[in-house]
């Protein structure tokens, strides 16, 4: 059972969250169908560290972003400089 480090509530069991998935930046206006659908449906799915969104539905009800190693399920908060 993965422990997700919620920045508000502290480390909590993953079952309190909904995993939103790999983080992508929402494309701006003027994006054509191909890149838009790539945003909707494609993920890079790395074997290793991925930046991932979770929603703390049974806790503070905040969306948060963490990094997870998909090979070991180690989870860590975003590096401090990325939080800005």
């Amino acid at each position: 059972m993965i422990l997700v480090p919620c920045p508000h509530c502290g480390a909590r069991n993953a079952s309190e969250f909904r995993c939103v998935g790999e983080q992508r930046a929402r494309p701006g206006d003027g994006t054509g169908p191909e890149p838009w659908r790539s945003y909707l449906y494609l993920r890079s799915n790395p074997a290793g560290w991925v930046t991932e969104g979770w929603y703390h539905r049974a806790g503070c009800r905040r969306y948060l972003t963490v990094e997870r190693d998909t090979l070991t399920n180690e989870v860590r908060p975003l590096p401090a400089e990325d939080l800005a």
Binding site: M1, I2, L3, N13, R18, R26, D29, T31, P33, W36, L40, Y55, R57, R61, R62, Y63, T72, N73
Partner: protein
Amino acid sequence: MSAPYRLGPQPGEVLDRSRAFSFTWNGRRYPAYEGDTIVSALAASGERVFSRSFKYHRPRGVLSASYHDPNCTVQVGDEPNVRAAHRRAAPGMDVRAQNAWPSLRYDVKSANQIVGRFLSAGFYYKTFIKPQRLWPLYDRILNRFSAGGVLTHAEPHEYYDKRYAHPDVLVAGGGPAGISGALAAAESGASVLLVEEEHELGGHLRWGDQAERAALAELRAALAANPAIEVLTDSAVTGRYDGNWVAVVQRNLPQVTERLIKARAKTLVVAAGLIERPYVFEGNDLPGVLLSTAARRLINTHAVRPGDRAVVLTANPEGDAAAADLECAGVDVARVVDARRGGDVVRVLGGRAGVRQVECGDGWKVACDLLVTAVGWTAPTALLNMAGDRPAYSEAAARFFPSKLPDDVLVTGGIAGDGTLDELIDHARATGREAARRALGGGGGWGTTMAPPALPVAEHPALFRGRTHGFVDFSEDVTSKDLAAAVHEGYDSIELVKRYTTATMGPSQGKLETVNTVAVVAEATGHSIGDTGTTVWRPPYVPVTLGALAGRSFEPVRYSPLQPWHERAGAKPLVAGAWIRPDHYGDSAGEVRNVRTNVGIIDVTPLGKFDLRGPDVPQLLNQLYVNKWSKLDVGSVRYGVMCAEDGVVLDDGVVGRLAADRYLLTSTSSGAGTIEEWIESWLQIERPDWRVYATPVTDAYASINVAGPRSRELLARVADGVDLAPEAFGYMRVRSGRIVGVDGCFLWRIGFTGERSYELHVPAAYGLHVWEALLDRGADLGVAPFGIEAQRILRLEKGHLIVGQDTDGLTQAYGAGLDWLVKLDKEDFVGRRELAWQRGRDDYFRLVGLQPVDGSVVPAEASQIVEGGNTIVGRITSSRMSPTLGRSVCLGFVAPHLAAPGTTVSVQLPGGPLIPATVMAQHAHFDPEGVRQRG
């Protein structure tokens, strides 16, 4: 009743001879003492055969006399698959053999042995396949011959529950290393949970010599004196998951059959000891072939003489000690064969009663009834494997060792190395201290971990298979010959061999057979044991009952405040997600007619409701809905549809503006949770600068829809402070006021049912009060409740779609006929891009109103619409008999070329004929102009 093989009191015995009782085995009574296991009591009486094997139905006796003994599975009362070498006998217990018919002694199914050569491993991949029509017969045959006990459904359910635990250090294994580690961790300030699989702590010290027993007594005393250590016996650590999330099944509770403990341990110490390994040779499964630890357990802890005349094959000091114990117990030790000096056992011959003769490596044949083997040890590394370790093989020690552990897992005891008892205890104490230090975050954190110095490793001869073929997996009846044959057939990796032969896949899950399997496969492939490697161990470590996993049934249920009334009125309950809703009150057609004629009231409390506050609410609404919201006046209500980023219809509902900065947004009841998260994702991630608070208030208001030509009359009798005149309170308007004395209510006029209707939102605590008042004050108006089924019919008559019923995961807004709502000239909204692209296409299915030509036929929902006999060109999404029109009415999807009004389509009724239906000009079948709801 006599027990001819019961010994006099032994210093280390666990029996209470002052408490004697009897129990039955296959209908016969046998004596026992408190502390006896089922097997020890039966063995004391001279019984040797406890089961028939899985496939060949060979008679089987005690092998390890431990929890993991594969030959001692029995049925106790109504409980199948009981481990008789672990389960304690109890007065009056009714124990029976499994998998044997008509009896254990004369098992007809042992005929399998005759056709054994056709039942080699993997036989079911090659037989019982054709012809396919005989599968039901094959199924019945195979069922009768398969193992496992008998389940009855008549017995009452037992009580299983669970709890959570947060120990600093969890120690798996209660032998000398586990106990010492736990003590040292507790002395360092950690909270400790110590879990032991057997009934007593002590591991191998329990059947050891006097010095070992004295050491055990000291350890037990120290443990009892330390309140920071919680000790669980007869409990198993069944799995280690991410972040040291550890599952423990606790079985030693008086009122709870089994309790699943979900522990988040900061550090896990695995002190699981060593499991003795059987030797593979012809006849190695005969009753009377015992492991040395089995012999010593029976003699020293249960005061049972395992047989009369024995041969001992020993390769280590524990085997030597077993020979000594046998002599002390009065067994005639005819020969001790020392494998360290080249001694060996070639084969054992026997009959139904078990061992009769042992043939030694030097040619000697010894008549006896007992062969005790001590050929080596296996480290039970499963938990470590679950923590990501791949054990490494040591040629010198002839066993696998842990190799690479994460920072939060430590090992100690026999699993980690050898040495004297003092050396093992010292290592365990150092490990316990380190485990506590890591758990409590002592200096340096995870980065500077300190592993205790390694234990010495003793050399041991490599003895796996002798000179003949024998059983490797006793539970699955897999022999070394089967394994060699599998390799010969091309299954040459250990993972493939395991799956093809099922070796290690039985109830003992590899504990007694994995290493022998690896050794035999290595032999057959010509690779080393180390290179062959082991298979991957996954949780659970031991089989777990479904009851323990299920625990108490936590299924949250939601009730409206009006539920007590619905129950008293005999409403038929409808399960809608977590909600219980009234489906109808006995006559849904009558309820429909009453709404169209008089007035009906329906409980719609599960409707998703959101309190929106702040100056930027219109921005939020514009962003999430496909239509426009900037010009919604205070006191007005508007219908809206939300699409997802792919243009697919997500949800619909109405939004009312209650005050300048205050709105009430509604969603579908099933979508309420999704919409809450959706709104929050926009406010938190994409637009954190918007000044909006959205608070879910679904449960805060009881919602009642008052619908029908007389709704205004009824409302006039309950509403206070609201001008109900049509000019003052028109269609799609919202007002606030007091209803039968309850302040803080909202009412709006909307039209799901197609009649003049008012939806009341009442503070939920007063919901029942208002509902009862409506029924009481409207009696002469013909007011009656209507349920979900009636509402479904009413809205279908009006052609109002239900998101998720008349739309699916691919329905974009234009396909649902929502063209009129989509405002592509808005700056941005969710789904805009895809909807703009959709509008340029013409290839999507359209939602249309449909009426079967024969109005008495009501097609089942999801009936397919077909063309040319086998091409699907649509489906029925909603379908009911309309009491108002006296004929069936539907909504459905059709391909664009069939969407023109008047087109006839063919509907395939499930398992039945094709019926014609007509595409209508609009979705509404009744009052398409909406005159009734706007009045």
